[in-house]
């Protein structure tokens, strides 16, 4: 009953179910990955190693090796933390919201998006950890009976909320992702030729056979997780925004922050999903599964979110003037728009609110390389947004004597490079060892355009 003629085919080329598993599993079943894979892995691992070195310096010498100072205590680390978390948002948002909206086309993309989530949240969690200064005492943030009082953590603190939210998000998105993969691991187990692969994937498939009992409970599980994770997606980034909004800094202390952050997160995440799936299409020839119309649909969503972003930026500027608050006004008009950080502001505004509007043109949405470039530009733009939020507000406080400037040191840059390396490594391993498209979900929509396969009675789907 939810079938519609509007969307058309979800898979090109009229494939049989067996073909679908074969083509998606081809990168896993082949003996050796292609040469570029090794080359890319080498590059990303060396970036990762460079990052490890920066972490070593941070831990052994201290936070003094970073460019942060008393006024701008949250520099690069928090910018990148929020950036990565934002990217990590799309995976779950993608699966959940499109699941709730019964958008069948999500099936080709959600696995990649969720993989991206898990890796990105990992990258994100490193930043606050190292920013603690004494990361070996990080467990003090757990509320557990201890010998220090027993001193409990401050449950009123947004930083504690943040900790709870991030760890919950990491655990939930990882388990959501994993359980979605169990049936696919079983498919690998049953189609693999090599004994080792059979054993390894057999272990990870947890004994899945595809019986109706399993599917019944699996459906119940995804219903529960889907419903509950939708709340999580919205709440996690709202909580990240309270790190800023609950403070009393000009430019931070606004009620627009939670929705603004959530939308921004989904925006950057969807852009990263585009980057990723276009890479997948290019490198693994998944064009039949991730069709042009999939990319088109994501582009259309991006237009809409970009409009919201633009509205949010303009609302902030308008409120800075309309509120008649001197500090707010000074921050926005003397620092952000036309001041020391004008470049970052306008880079953000153009990359997020203006350039994605090119997606209105069909010619742009159809040309993959343009979409790819725009998706990267959006990610850079979202990075500048975080820079803009974190640094400008801190650099121009209420007291001119506390004013300061910020620029990162090489340690911070290396740390960030390291997380990018970690992300790419994770993505490469994902390409190689995990079915990058949810096979079982895709099969359920394989005959989407002709619900009863041209014969017998019609089946309802959903």
């Amino acid at each position: 009953m939810y079938n519609s003629k509007v969307r058309g085919k979800l898979i090109e080329g009229d494939k049989s179910l067996g073909q679908i598993s074969q083509e998606i599993l081809a990168p896993i079943h082949r003996k050796k990955p292609p040469l570029w894979w090794y080359a890319a892995l080498l590059v990303s691992l060396s970036m990762f190693g460079f990052g490890l070195y920066a972490k070593y310096i941070t831990v052994s010498t201290g936070i003094g090796t970073w460019g942060v100072n008393n006024s701008i205590a949250w520099g690069w680390a928090i910018i990148n933390f929020v950036w990565w978390i934002g990217i990590g948002h799309a995976g779950t948002a993608f699966s959940i919201f499109l699941l709730i909206l019964r958008q069948k086309w999500r099936t080709a993309i959600n696995r990649a998006a969720e993989a991206m989530t898990v890796v990105a949240v990992f990258c994100a969690s490193l930043f606050p950890l190292l920013h603690m200064g004494r990361p070996w005492l990080f467990f003090w943030i757990f509320p557990y009976p201890n010998t220090r009082g027993p001193l409990w953590v401050n449950f009123n603190s947004p930083l504690f909320w943040d900790f709870v939210a991030i760890s919950a998000y990491l655990l939930i998105s990882a388990s959501f992702w994993y359980f979605g993969m169990v049936p696919d691991f079983a498919t690998i187990r049953d189609t693999a030729k090599s004994k080792i692969k059979k054993a390894v994937y057999g272990f990870f498939s947890f004994g899945w056979t595809g019986s109706s009992k399993e599917w019944l409970r699996f459906e119940g599980l995804s219903f529960v997780l889907g419903g509950i994770a939708a709340v999580l997606v919205v709440s996690v980034h709202s909580i990240v925004s309270t790190d800023f909004a609950v403070s009393v800094k000009p430019g931070w202390h606004t009620t627009i922050f939670p929705p603004y952050f959530v939308v921004g997160a989904i925006f950057s995440g969807f852009a990263m999903v585009l980057t990723l799936v276009i890479t997948m299409r290019g490198l693994y020839k998944m064009n039949d599964f991730i069709t042009d119309s999939h990319v088109d649909a994501v582009c259309r969503i991006l237009i809409f979110i970009s409009l919201i972003m633009g509205t949010a930026y303009i609302t902030e500027i308008f409120m800075a003037w309309y509120s008649a608050n001197d500090y707010e006004f000074a921050l926005f008009f003397k620092t952000r728009l036309f001041g020391e950080y004008a470049f970052q502001f306008w880079a953000m505004f153009i990359a997020n609110a203006v350039i994605p509007q090119l997606f209105w043109f069909k010619g742009v949405r159809r040309r993959m390389w343009i979409v790819f470039i725009i998706s990267i530009i959006i990610n850079i733009g979202m990075w500048f947004e975080r820079f803009n939020i974190v640094v400008t507000s801190l650099s121009r406080d209420y007291l001119p004597s506390a004013w300061a400037s910020y620029s990162p040191t090489w340690v911070e840059i290396a740390f960030f490079t390291g997380t990018i390396g970690m992300f790419i490594t994770g993505v490469l391993l994902f390409f190689r060892y995990i079915p990058m498209i949810a096979i079982s979900e895709l099969k359920s929509v394989a005959k989407f355009d002709k619900p009863n396969n041209g014969q017998l009675k019609s089946s309802s789907h959903e």
Binding site: G18, P143, F155, S175, A186, G207, L216, V236, S444, L456
Partner: protein, 165 residues
């Protein structure tokens, strides 16, 4: 698998559902149906219900109450501290942690429930009736003893679009 079963193997969803319903109309219940993806007619037709959603609701209820009482105990009763003149029992700001931690509890507990009830857990050896049921075949498993006099008719139903193995 010491016992002999009759397997009806189909190539697509529509023929499977058709045969499934015809077999059921004969008053025979298949032992199990294996499919590469969930098919709602089968899930309903097998007559099993899952209470996993109800379980999740109660997990959520108890988790929310438990977490909120823990926060209140820790911050109000056990070791009250002043934070910027706010009341000890800063109820609204406890809600944030309560919501997120409740979601986490529901997810983990529901996952464990699923694992226990559907018997999907690490290290389990799969009982495979048909190698391609996770790939591209749709398999009905029938107990020959339950067929009785209808076995010929059932075979015909299966053979109409599928194969008997």
């Amino acid at each position: 698998m010491s016992k002999e079963y009759i397997l009806g193997v189909f190539n697509d969803e529509a023929t499977l559902v058709d045969a499934f319903e015809k077999i059921k109309a004969k008053g025979i219940m298949p032992v199990e149906v294996f499919t590469p993806y969930p098919i709602h007619e089968i899930l309903e037709g097998m007559g099993k219900k899952t209470r996993i959603t109800h379980a999740a609701f109660f997990y959520g209820l108890f988790a929310a109450v438990g977490i909120l009482s823990f926060l209140t105990y820790a911050a109000v009763i056990d070791w009250p501290l002043h934070y910027g003149g706010k009341p000890f029992n800063a109820f609204p700001s406890f809600i944030v942690v309560t919501i997120v931690a409740t979601i986490l509890s529901i997810t983990l507990l529901t996952l464990f429930t699923f694992s226990a009830r559907a018997k999907i857990f690490p290290g389990k050896k799969a009982e495979i009736f048909h190698e391609r049921a996770t790939d591209d075949k749709f398999v009905i498993v029938l107990d020959p003893e339950s067929l009785g006099a209808d076995s010929k008719a059932v075979e015909e139903i299966i053979r109409e679009h599928g194969e008997v193995e």
